[in-house]
């Protein structure tokens, strides 16, 4: 096949995709691998960086054995600090093969060595039949490339010769300087392996990269002041992080969980493999939480081990100056090189952010990456700062909330705290109800106003009628607004979780939350929580919201009856293979027609709002595969019960 050197055309042949899946034998790998290196070398010497090397873009001719690269429409012939925009459709297929610097998350530019990283991923796949990392969303992919270490091919498959494995791992180095510098270098080493394999059936170790020739397409590591251009896909990833972060903060109100989620996101989005949340204390600071990567999972520990786990000098500097510290290349001599932690652990990049609230230090976020330098970008700093300040705010709010609880927070406040995790069944089902429920008070208001005007114009004007009409208008206006805010709350969706839950613990948490208020209402609360209940699977926050709603309803129901007879009983047990949760009260109870009506959206017998609670509770329970219903209590009162199915195989996570 002939190709002009200045305008490459799309070649034909089979795509490499078809060859992947099962691991290749050494000969086939070497034959194809060398072909890839040769083709790439030609491209680079022609002045092009491909930018999207993946199996779909590699074509080979089975007959001639020639390998060619396609998908050159995105190839860039520009040097250094320009990246070509990623077509959004192809981003999905490119994510597993993206070099760390291509994610926009490192303060590095793309150059020809980025293509080599992608080739390394492909070689990995050819030799082992799998990708070096697996991930389920773009953020995880990015994090894998920046902060995760893959197993060497020879560790995944014993039959892979060690030198080949070493070549692949060299290509997969996070920092471009640590990789092969040219395709020619790769080609040379692979050929050497081929010779050894053909002649002696065995490849001895040899020093890699001896035949490297410097390439004019290499970028130099930029000064911190310069900004590398960010591709749209990277921006897209940032937005994803923002959304995930806000959902986290708004859906978690229990402090330990909030910290867990935030640390996980901070680690993943920042490209760190270890992070600490530090809080100021008498002795200077203490570790509130420590997060680190264990293979693919983020591990979390509240508090930390006794030994020193952070660079003291850095942290103290941040405390004193309230300024952030970023070390792009921490191994190079710097202000803090003397620190024993840095000398021992030698992270490649580190960052310490102060969390400042109203001029005072509320905490600090420490992140490090032991694999890659320049892992923390200035641009990304804004994102981290937002995350960090949200963390600080939540820390403060949770402390405030605890104080408020001491001083008897209002019912409404508690409900709003946990109300963020509501879910709506279907939009269609709701829209008719919404239209009806908002229109009623509005129509009543208009009618009242017109009536008032007529009364006003009568001979003589009827002031009493006018006054009454105005009062009704006020009341109906508030009702209309309540409907609107409830609807807004409903549409704030958080992605539902499916965790293994010991339901008793979750219920205990809610009981603890409402204990003061229940006591203040002079209600005797009894809980019969069965021992050794099977675990169920669901969203802890959502289920707690249901229980909270039922408790609040019971409290309100008993508000008007004699104090001595206010009883609430909360029970858990198993029945028919399900877990059953029951909330009983001794209030006025429900008529048989109301027993179903209470679950209709917007039905309420209360004068003040939140009639939305029960219909959403029902949709939450039903989404979990259970049932929620009401019946009469004996001798009086109401019983609200829901069931949750017990799954056959339940997956218990290791940590957080």
């Amino acid at each position: 096949m002939t190709r002009s050197s200045s305008t490459p055309e799309e070649p034909r042949g089979e795509s490499l995709e078809g060859e992947l899946g099962a691991p290749m034998d050494v000969e086939r790998f070497l034959s194809l691998g060398i072909g890839i290196a040769v083709a790439l070398g030609k491209l680079h010497r022609g002045g092009f960086i491909h930018g999207d090397i993946r199996p779909g873009n590699i074509r080979f001719n089975s007959a001639s054995g020639e390998v060619a690269l396609s998908g050159l429409s995105v190839a860039s012939s520009l040097l250094c600090d320009r990246q070509s925009p990623d077509p959004p459709e192809s981003m999905g297929g490119s994510l597993p093969y993206m070099a760390p610097e291509q994610t926009g998350r490192m303060n590095r530019s793309i150059d020809s060595r980025s293509d080599l990283y992608s080739v390394g991923v492909i070689y990995y796949q050819m030799l082992t039949g799998r990708l070096p990392f697996t991930a389920s969303d773009p953020m995880e992919w990015v994090h894998s490339h920046i902060a995760r270490m893959a197993l060497a091919p020879c560790e995944v498959r014993r039959t892979v010769p060690v030198p080949l494995s070493a070549i692949v791992m060299r290509l997969l180095a996070k920092t471009p300087e640590d990789r092969y510098q040219t395709a020619a270098g790769v080609e040379s080493d692979l050929k050497r392996c081929l010779v050894a394999s053909t002649q002696r059936q065995h490849i001895d170790d040899f020093p890699l990269g001896e035949n490297e020739v410097a390439d004019r397409l290499h970028a130099t590591a930029p000064e911190r002041a310069q900004e590398a251009a960010i591709s749209p896909s990277a921006q897209h990833l940032d937005i994803g992080t923002m959304i995930k972060a806000s959902q986290t903060v708004s859906s978690e109100t229990v402090l330990p969980r909030l910290i867990e989620r935030l640390m996980t996101i901070a680690l993943q989005s920042a490209g760190a493999d270890r992070g600490l949340l530090l809080l100021p204390s008498q002795s200077g600071y203490e570790v509130a939480a420590e997060a680190w990567m264990n293979g693919e999972k983020v591990m979390l520990r509240h508090g930390s081990a006794a030994d020193v786990s952070a660079p003291e000098s850095v942290v103290r500097y941040v405390i004193r100056s309230l300024q952030r510290v970023i070390l792009d290349d921490a191994v190079r001599p710097n202000l803090f090189s003397e620190d024993s932690y840095l000398a021992r652990r030698q992270p490649k990049s580190l960052l310490c952010l102060p969390l400042v609230r109203q001029g005072a230090l509320a905490g600090m976020l420490y992140l490090e990456n032991t694999l890659a330098s320049y892992a923390f970008t200035a641009r990304h700093m804004e994102l981290l700062e937002v995350l960090a300040s949200q963390a600080a705010m939540s820390l403060e709010n949770t402390r405030l909330h605890r104080d408020l609880q001491e001083r008897d927070a209002s019912v409404l406040g508690l409900q709003t705290e946990l109300a963020h995790a509501n879910r709506v069944a279907t939009l269609g089902q709701l829209s008719a109800s919404i239209a009806h429920e908002i229109t009623q008070p509005i129509a009543a208001m208009v009618t009242n106003a017109r009536a008032a005007m007529r009364w006003q114009a009568a001979e003589p004007p009827d002031k009493e009628e006018v006054r009454q009409a105005l009062e009704r208008i006020t009341r109906d206006g508030i009702r209309a607004f309540n409907v609107v805010s409830q609807v807004r709350a409903l549409f704030k969706k958080a992605p539902p979780r499916r965790d293994a839950l010991p339901i008793n613990d979750s219920i205990q948490e809610v009981i603890a939350l409402t204990r003061r208020m229940v006591a203040k209402s002079r209600i005797s609360l009894r809980s019969n929580l069965a021992e050794s209940l099977p675990l169920i699977q669901g969203d802890r926050v959502q289920l707690q919201q249901v229980v909270l709603n039922l408790i609040m309803n019971a409290v309100e129901a008993m508000g008007d009856i004699d104090e001595s007879s206010r009883e609430m009983v909360i029970t858990t047990n198993t029945g028919d293979g399900d877990v059953q949760v029951t909330v009983q009260d001794s209030g006025p109870g429900l008529s048989s027609s109301d027993a179903e009506k209470v679950f209709e959206a917007f039905f309420t017998t209360k004068t003040s709002g939140l009639g939305i609670g029960l219909s959403v509770c029902r949709s939450i329970i039903e989404a979990h595969g259970g049932r929620l219903w009401a019946s009469a209590n004996v001798p009086r009162g109401a019983v609200f019960q829901f069931t949750l199915p017990v799954p056959e195989n339940i997956e218990v996570p290791a940590v957080g």
């Binding site: 239209a435 009806h436 129509a443 208009v446 009242n448 009536a451 009364w455 009704r472």
Partner: protein, 206 residues
């Protein structure tokens, strides 16, 4: 005959609506009864004065439109004005076909509702009067003898006494006597008047 005051019946399950409508209707000097469901309305004794019904389409249990159909089937002619928080065209068509005075989506202009109410009350008034009239006519007709009814038939056809006598096989004088009786018993003021009465009675199948 004593005239009871016109009364407006309002059936809507929303308390706020009921209260606001009560105030509005009273502000134009009308009597009003508010009820929260159709069964409640049916329990109410039939009012002797003119009435009309302001009815929400979407009610728990039986819908307002179904109730309209029931009323028609039972030959009850109370005028209906529909109000609704949400209405679609098929609903409107069905309502109007069923003889509703108006179909008003909420929030409606109060003037529209009041006019519809007044129209409904007027119609009901007219109907009652018409019914009364019919009842009177029929009662009077019942009092006519067979012969008198025959004479009335021919008179309203426009025949002169001579021809009536020939058709009936009686003397002209007898015809004149019968005719006099008919005019007196039917309280007719003239032959065209009698003819109108005959038309009305014909609608009843006499």
């Amino acid at each position: 005959m004593t005239q009871a005051k016109p009364t407006v019946f309002v059936v809507d399950d929303d308390l706020a609506m009921r209260e606001s409508l009560r105030s509005l209707v009273r502000s134009v000097g009308l009597e009003v009864q508010t009820l929260d469901s159709v069964p409640e309305f049916l329990k109410f004794e039939r009012w002797t004065g003119p009435t009309c019904l302001v009815l929400d389409v979407r009610l728990p249990g039986r819908s307002g439109l179904d109730f309209q159909r029931d009323l028609l089937a039972a030959n009850v002619h109370i005028p209906i004005i529909f109000i609704t928080a949400f209405g679609d065209i098929p609903m409107t068509v069905q309502a109007m076909k069923g003889g509703a005075i108006a179909f008003l989506p909420k929030p409606f202009r109060d003037q529209d509702l009041i006019e519809a109410i007044q129209l409904g009350l007027a119609r009901d008034q007219a109907r009652r009067e018409g019914e009364t009239e019919m009842a009177t006519l029929r009662a009077r007709f019942e009092m006519l003898s067979i012969r008198e009814r025959e004479v009335m038939f021919f008179v309203t056809k426009g025949q002169i006494n001579k021809h009536i006598a020939a058709s009936m096989g009686i003397s002209e004088i007898t015809v004149k006597v019968h005719r006099g009786q008919v005019m007196r018993k039917m309280h007719a003021t003239s032959t065209p008047d009698l003819a109108r009465m005959a038309d009305k009675l014909k609608d009843l199948g006499q």
